[in-house]
Subunit: 221 residues, 2 copies
């Protein structure tokens, strides 16, 4: 590969990792705004989404520029296509962080609902999946990516548990129904963040192995 | 553009439109399984998702093959990249139809919940958005795509209305809480289908105008 293409790919790697770090922080702060009933922190997450959106646009333009200028093939082509798709997932995770923060702003105005659910733990799982999926991209490691797909079960299971807890809590505290339904949404958003990390990991496996493993999850176990 | 590339692009257009038609039908049938409490129809939607997944993989492989073999530039390159992303959205809409159908299977085993929400109308809006977004791709029409983005408000507003209706119904019929929360999920899934159609439309606008309009929705109005 030409030295110029190599340099462009290195820059792209840095940019997508930096986008990943901003998105991960947004998810962390959004969850914290729920746990701490912190409306200011929630507003901060919502404002910072502009930076995520701008970076997504930049990354996509970089990918198109590289494709048009260098016409990469084989591994390089697969890397660019993977970045294009992963970029999309990161932006949507950013949107989910905003949705969580919006719930945070509302919940901060309400009495604390009577439910003990470990959002920090669930958010921690989802963020770890995100981090590992991006590491696997940079390391070109299908094995690392495979671990992300396996972790998705833990997040899904916490979400199912939350459904049951919310139903019980509504039965006991019908006056808190609105807040409890908002908390259920937060759990669903975290579960979807886990799904996006899984999508990223699947794209990495495809990039590395040159075959599409989506919908055939047994292949990378 | 070479005659071969032209032929490949025409084939790709046909394939993505045919995927769109299958996905649209899945959404329609999944919604019908809710309205008619039809567990068999729901199971059919779940089984047919395999076909959507297989077609998605085929479309992605076709895009990569075209990029590697013909190294398209300008409009052709933007079209291939748009198809790659739209393909992804279509597959995720298929997954949402499966999620709706899974709720349909559960709800068919329960007494009909006491709520009158027009799922057929909401699903109709979402499917119309999907159809128009794919038409705008084939017609290279930013104007048509712009209309999709505008329609998203109607679907969002129906989803918000559903939140309020479900809260009221749970207050009145606490014993139906599980079914009502499932119906709320159906409404959210339809709302997300509208979001995916909006993403498709935004990709078309980018393809046609050569500029990324995401996050700047006023530009195409």
């Amino acid at each position: 590969m030409s030295i110029h293409l190599q340099r462009e790919i290195e820059n792209l790697k840095k940019k997508i990792l930096s986008l990943g770090a901003i998105v991960e922080q947004a998810v962390q702060q959004a969850t914290e705004s729920i746990e701490q009933a912190d409306a200011d922190l929630a507003s901060q997450v919502i404002e910072q989404d502009l930076r995520i959106d701008d970076t997504e646009v930049e990354v996509e333009e970089d990918c198109l520029k590289i494709l048009a200028l260098y016409q990469p093939v084989a591994t390089d082509l697969r890397f660019i296509i993977a970045v294009l798709k992963i970029n999309n997932d990161l932006e949507r995770i950013g949107d989910l962080a905003v949705n969580i923060a919006e719930r945070g702003k509302f919940l901060a105005t309400q009495p604390k609902p009577d439910i003990s659910f470990d959002f920090a733990k669930m958010s921690g799982y989802a963020r770890q999946m995100l981090k590992t999926s991006l590491d696997s991209l940079v390391d070109f490691s299908a094995e690392e990516a495979g671990r992300v797909c396996e972790s998705d079960d833990a997040v899904d299971s916490m979400n199912r548990q939350m459904y049951l807890m919310v139903q019980d809590s509504i039965r006991e505290n019908i006056n808190q129904i609105e807040s409890l339904i908002h908390l259920l949404s937060v759990s669903r958003h975290l579960e979807r963040i886990g799904d996006h990390a899984t999508n990223i990991a699947e794209d990495v496996i495809y990039m590395v192995q040159g075959q599409i493993i989506r919908h055939k999850t047994e292949n990378y176990k």
